[in-house]
């Protein structure tokens, strides 16, 4: 199955440009780059039902636009880390007869899952004013997730590639007062088109794909952002982002990532 996300991301991009051009005067663009801490938890039944954990350093690149009638933005998120479990501590692929499977292959042990997460999200929200400082954005998002995992089963290094394109509603209250801005965004995927390219040795069907409406795939994101404008053009952003997703085909897998990031932003 060929994923359609690049076309939709392009449409979103042009929609963003069009809205920017037609917006009212009280608007600004912001480009921000941030990094910090990300705590990942993965529960995967590929090897077994172990829970793998690891802290990592995420990279967050974001463009957003705040217009008089709308909010919109595009975000790119990347995280690479080697998740680890101690639930199989003491287990060995050896015994009195000798060692049957190497303890380490290509830098991986049997207690690790190497994981790379790439995420692109775009959102478009209508803006409703609650008062002169507080407004509420209501709209939707599109998101593409690419997750690439490496792990060992016996002596084989397996590579799982997963791609998900999701659409869902987003709610975002925004409070702006002078140089301070607080923003909370809550979103959940409704419709997901996904493809999981399984390890070649995971069977004859090495690719699983399909469309899910709140069933095989579920993703939730909750985000809190505080921004402070140092000047008209430069500011700082602090984010707490909680992201959770799960899917059930061909087996249930869950992942939660908590991020605390800080970064520089440029307004224009």
């Amino acid at each position: 199955m060929r994923l359609i996300q690049p076309r939709l991301v392009l449409i979103l991009f042009f929609l963003t440009i069009w809205t920017m051009r037609s917006s009212a005067q009280e608007s600004f663009h912001k480009l921000s780059l941030g990094t910090g801490w990300a705590g990942s938890t993965l529960k995967d039944k590929v090897i077994s039902s172990y829970i793998y954990k690891k802290n990592g350093i995420p990279i967050l690149l974001e463009y957003n636009y705040k217009g008089y009638h709308s909010f919109m933005g595009v975000r790119v998120y990347m995280l690479f880390n080697k998740l680890k479990t101690d639930e199989n501590k003491g287990f060995a692929y050896k015994g009195d007869l000798g060692n049957f499977v190497p303890d380490k292959i290509n830098g991986l042990t049997h207690s690790q899952v190497s994981c790379f997460t790439f995420q692109t999200r775009g959102y478009v929200l209508g803006r409703i004013y609650m008062d002169d400082r507080l407004s509420l954005g209501i709209g939707g998002f599109v998101q593409y997730d690419h997750v690439h995992k490496r792990f060992l089963v016996l002596s084989y290094e397996n590579k799982l590639k997963e791609g998900f394109f999701s659409i869902g509603p987003q709610l975002m209250p925004v409070y702006i007062s002078g140089p301070h801005e607080f923003q909370f965004a809550l979103s959940a995927s409704l419709l997901t088109v996904g493809a999981r390219k399984l390890a070649p040795d995971e069977g004859s069907t090495t690719r699983v794909s399909g469309t899910s409406f709140l069933k095989e795939y579920m993703g939730v994101e909750s985000r809190l952002t505080y921004s402070y404008s140092i000047s008209q053009t430069i500011g700082v952003d602090f984010n707490y982002i909680f992201y959770y997703y799960q899917y059930s085909k061909p087996r249930k897998e869950q992942m939660a990532i908590q991020n605390l990031t800080a970064g520089l932003s440029f307004m224009f």
Binding site: L154, Y156, Y240
Partner: protein, 364 residues
């Protein structure tokens, strides 16, 4: 006044947002546990989960054995809890493994107590070396020994051989392939020193196997060169069709001379396993070789061993071996060309019918 009011309003809003922030971070920090249910901390349950999952990933014959391993999980998992002792767990593992019919399945406690599947116990070995020695070799037996493979301080008798019918037939018994002794070279030397030989009786009855390459080298003496005799593919994951590509199995020839086209008989029984079966598989199709006796044990795939965190060890297989025609003989074993038993009546009469047939075939 307006400014004060505005500042105050901002402070209230800021305070409100700070409270929300703290609550938000606090709630979401524990959200992860709400979304992802933690696994049990109990040691017996962890050992069970590792054991079940590893065999789920490893064992290649679930469909062949007609065992639903998930159903086994559902039936046995409720029996394990935090208070389950290691001895109880051992018994539960036994009950789980019993339906898996591969000949390499075994369990071992840290104390040394072992368990293996009982499926072969019902068969007769059709073998008595004392009968062979007294009746056919005139009590003239040569022993070839080597340092023990597992314990070099011990001495293992690997080969016993002698001559039948005025030195015209070599009786060559290989007791094990678990040795560093060059069995092929030993056999070649004996044959070269005895040009009068009409044929060889290779007795591998009750040979439990050992080092695969040792069996492949011995087989090459009969095949004459490096020759394909089968394929092996490894299990690589939990799904039924999670296998690597098949890779070929060859006899390991050295180009230093082979047995040739003189007749040879290979005596087999139900207690032939693993490397021994590879030897039989490699030579059984040769036109000058006749296999006589009972079907082999049916455990071709290399054994692998695991140790659980609680110290219990287990052996399983993770591959499927086929012959060069892609036929699986796991569990069923290799049937002999001539099926023959050694009955109690035969024993009491001082006869080994397998050996009698072998002598007759060579004398033909």
């Amino acid at each position: 006044m307006l400014l004060t009011c505005s500042v105050k309003r901002f402070q209230i809003h800021t305070y409100y947002y700070k409270v929300v922030l703290v609550l938000f971070v606090g709630v979401l920090s524990s959200c992860e546990k709400a979304f992802i249910e933690p696994n049990s901390d109990s040691s017996p349950e962890k050992n069970f989960e590792i054991f079940w999952n590893d065999i789920h990933n490893t064992y290649p014959f679930f469909s062949y054995d007609q065992v639903d391993w998930v159903a086994v999980y559902n039936a046995t998992r409720p029996l394990v809890n935090a208070s389950t002792t290691d001895d109880e767990l051992f018994e539960i593992f036994k009950s789980m493994l019993r339906p898996l019919l591969d000949g390499h399945i075994a369990l071992k406690k840290p104390s040394g107590q072992t368990w293996a599947n009982e499926r072969h116990y019902e068969y007769s070995s059709n073998y008595s070396f004392s009968l062979v020695r007294s009746r056919y070799l005139n009590n003239k037996v040569y022993h070839v020994t080597a340092p023990g493979y597992s314990d070099p301080s011990q001495t293992d008798t690997v080969i016993r051989y002698g001559f039948i019918n005025n030195n015209s037939i070599l009786y060559f018994n290989v007791g094990t392939f678990l040795t560093n002794l060059p069995i092929r070279d030993t056999l070649r030397n004996i044959v070269q020193r005895n040009p009068q030989l009409k044929g060889i009786i290779m007795d591998v009855r009750s040979n439990g196997g050992g080092i695969l390459s040792s069996a492949q080298r011995l087989a090459s003496y009969f095949t004459g060169t490096t020759e394909l005799y089968g394929y092996l593919k490894n299990k690589t994951g939990p799904l039924e069709d999670n296998f690597s590509e098949s890779y070929p199995l060859y006899t390991l020839g050295d180009g230093l001379g082979s047995y040739g086209s003189k007749p040879a008989a290979v005596l087999t029984n139900r207690f032939d396993f693993s490397a021994t079966e590879h030897f039989v598989m490699a030579v059984r199709d040769l036109p000058n070789v006749t296999t006589i006796g009972d079907t082999t044990g049916g455990a071709f795939s290399p054994v692998i061993q695991r140790t659980l965190p609680n110290g219990i060890q287990y052996t399983v297989v993770s591959s499927i071996t086929t012959d060069k025609h892609n036929r699986i003989f796991e569990k069923t074993g290799l049937a002999p060309e001539i099926y023959k038993e050694l009955t109690v009546t035969d024993f009491l009469a001082g006869k080994d019918p397998l050996l009698e047939i072998a002598i007759g075939k060579i004398e033909e």
